[in-house]
């Protein structure tokens, strides 16, 4: 059993490395694109909402950048999981291995991008002179939650997308809507209180809010909220995993 598990982790790693190498093949800037893309988005949003419209949020540059980076991971991880499962049809039709590996490898590849982006964030962080808070030790926990949500959604949508290909397009639209329906550029205090309940049903709202609290502001998030978001993440992951496992035996035929 352990030999098998080791074999599968090995495959996850090799697929992730290959995907990362292939992603920017033939481009001049190469890996830098994983940094340029979120920074560009950040730059435009910062210009609009800090210079033109002037949101009154403390450390708005860090606030915005962290939100963009975390959301970017969700978007990239899920979309590559969906497209990889379709694109690796040849492999699925000819080699037997747990198909979850493809999704896990996709979300792991995107982790590389996430960490590169977080390094950039660190540079901004140091440059802006904000002190490092002790609460930052909670940040990895929130990243784990983010990983579970992304992988869970990736499993769920990629499995269903094999049968109904529209889902990949629907998900792209959902990601766009989600970007504006999640407090990434604005803050929760700008939202009327009666909508807060619905906002907090969105696990990304919590992850992004708590991440900012522990990294930028040094505020310990309330325990109930953290537990709630953890449950949401695990539930999403389990649902995604179960649906994926149910569909998995038919992938080779449906692709």
């Amino acid at each position: 059993m352990t030999i098998k598990r080791q074999r599968y982790w090995n495959l996850v790693r090799e697929l992730a490395i290959a995907d990362f190498k292939l992603r920017y093949q033939g481009s001049v800037l190469g890996y830098l694109w994983s940094l340029v893309k979120p920074l560009l988005l950040f730059g435009v949003l910062y210009l609009v909402f800090s210079v033109f419209m002037r949101f009154d949020i403390a450390q708005y540059n860090l606030y915005l950048l962290l939100g963009v980076i975390l959301w970017g991971y969700l978007a990239e991880g899920t979309t590559t999981a969906i497209s990889n499962l379709v694109n690796k049809g040849g492999l699925i039709a000819r080699v037997s291995f747990p198909r979850t590996i493809i999704v896990v490898a996709s979300t792991v590849t995107s982790l590389i991008t996430l960490f590169l982006n977080l390094i950039v964030f660190m540079i901004f962080f140091i440059a802006s002179g904000v002190p490092v808070h002790a609460t930052v030790v909670l940040f990895p926990l929130l990243l784990l939650e983010l990983y579970l949500i992304t992988t869970g959604l990736g499993l769920l949508i990629s499995a269903l997308n094999i049968k109904v290909r529209d889902l990949s397009h629907i998900w792209e639209v959902m990601l766009q809507i989600g970007f504006w329906a999640t407090p990434i550029i604005y803050s929760m205090s700008m939202i009327p209180a009666k909508y807060h309940f619905w906002y907090f049903m969105n696990p990304m709202t919590r992850i992004i809010k708590y991440s900012r609290d522990v990294v930028i502001y040094g505020i310990a998030p309330d325990l109930k909220g953290v537990i709630a978001s953890f449950f949401m993440a695990i539930a999403l992951f389990v649902v995604g995993y179960l649906v994926f496992k149910k569909r998995e035996p038919y992938f080779a035929e449906d692709l």
Binding site: N10, E14, I17, A18, G90
Partner: protein, 393 residues
């Protein structure tokens, strides 16, 4: 005591082929208001047999007889509709060599990736890397991108990596069809070695020569059923005879393909049936086929190969812009070679019948029909063919 390593018990596999495949929501909505129609295709019907540890088992059968489906079920890629399969050991799934190769990565990177797909760890490949490259004869191309490799080089790399697998059971599907003669010999040597090492190997091939050479037992499949299991020689003979066997059961088994080839006859200019010709003689090749429905826009084709299976020439009506408008019941098509160019030896003819687009091959019979060339005098030329020529100097 020889143990059973794979036990296959009454496996049935049915493919549902929707008349129109639905993959978008719109198609789902539209079809919700109309009847869903499926065509059921029985790829395998109650297939049972067992494989013993250390055995080299061959599987033969025509195109569409279910060989590949069976292999995929053993590999765990497809799920059977009914029946049970028990596999006691690890399987190296090289159904097709080089699956997962990335043209934009280097040979080195691809060896690691492909190795991982086959279940090899990074350290295992580290140790074996040099011998993999050496076996593939690619020492000078290690850090070149795979897209710059010829298909022969890619197959060599894939094969060299695949044989490093330490699985108990190897599934091999038509890997020897490619590569030059020199590399084929290496592959054969490897098979000999694996055989000595008592690996269990399941081998699917149209190459009856290598089936006979390597296999301990052969499973002969027809129309998704196990027709017979036994000694290679006997099974190959039975397979050859099945082409002329026109019992109703046999025809039903083949009828799924639409049109099936029943016979190929060779004759000389006068129409005298014979199998041995002289160089330069006219050879008339008659393909007999049958169908139990009317099929429109059909093309026929022929391939000529030498005894080793090297393709000498491939010809089809599509290339010549010809089409048989309708085939119904029995049909004969004649192909006439005037002044045949073949030199002494045995030649295989592979007849094929396909849809005009070429996408749908109704039937194709490899390595069964053959004719001989024998000249009374000593062979004047070397090789396989002769042609008109003049010298000038």
């Amino acid at each position: 005591m020889v143990e059973t390593i794979i036990e296959i018990n009454k496996i049935t596999k049915v493919f549902k082929i929707p008349h129109e495949r639905k993959t978008t929501l719109k198609e789902y909505f539209v079809s919700a208001f109309s009847h869903r129609t499926y065509e059921q295709f029985h790829a395998l019907r109650e297939v049972s047999f067992s494989v013993r540890e250390g055995e080299f088992l061959g599987i033969i059968g025509r195109n569409g007889s279910g060989k590949s489906t069976l292999l995929k079920i053993i590999a765990g890629i497809l799920q059977p509709n009914s029946g049970r399969i028990a596999v006691l050991g690890s399987i190296a799934p090289f159904l097709e060599l080089g699956v997962g190769f990335q043209p934009d990565l280097t040979a080195r990177e691809n060896v690691y990736l492909y190795g991982a797909i086959l279940g090899l760890s990074r350290t295992a490949i580290d140790q074996k890397f040099d011998s993999i490259i050496k076996f593939a004869e690619l020492e000078n191309f290690v850090d070149q991108k795979l897209k710059n490799f010829s298909s022969g080089m890619q197959v060599r790399l894939a094969f060299s990596t695949a044989i490093q697998s330490d699985a108990d059971i190897l599934l091999v599907d038509e890997v020897l069809a490619v590569g030059d003669a020199d590399f084929q010999r290496k592959c054969f040597n490897t098979f000999d070695r694996l055989k000595r090492e008592k690996k269990t190997i399941i081998f699917v091939s149209h190459d009856l020569g290598s089936i006979e050479r390597f296999c301990d037992r052969v499973v002969f499949i027809e129309g998704g059923k196990v027709k017979n299991i036994g000694k290679p020689r006997e099974m190959i003979t039975a397979y050859g005879q099945s082409f002329t066997d026109t019992t109703p059961e046999n025809i039903e088994a083949r009828a799924t393909s639409g049109i099936y080839i029943t016979k190929v006859a060779f004759s000389n200019e006068q129409g005298e049936e014979k199998k041995t010709f002289k160089t330069g003689e006219t050879i008339r090749i008659k393909i007999f086929c049958k169908t139990n429905r009317a099929v429109h826009n059909v093309i026929f084709g022929l391939e000529f190969a030498n005894e080793q299976g090297l393709l000498l020439s491939g010809i089809n009506m599509g290339i010549d812009h010809l089409v048989v408008e309708k085939v119904e019941g029995e049909k004969q098509v004649e192909f006439i070679i005037q002044n045949n160019p073949f030199l002494d030896g045995m030649y295989y003819v592979t007849p094929a019948v396909a849809d005009k687009s070429g996408d749908l091959i109704f039937d194709r019979v490899e390595r069964i029909f053959r004719f001989y060339i024998a000249n009374e005098n000593q062979k004047k030329y070397f090789g396989f063919i002769q042609f008109p020529y003049t010298w000038r100097f």
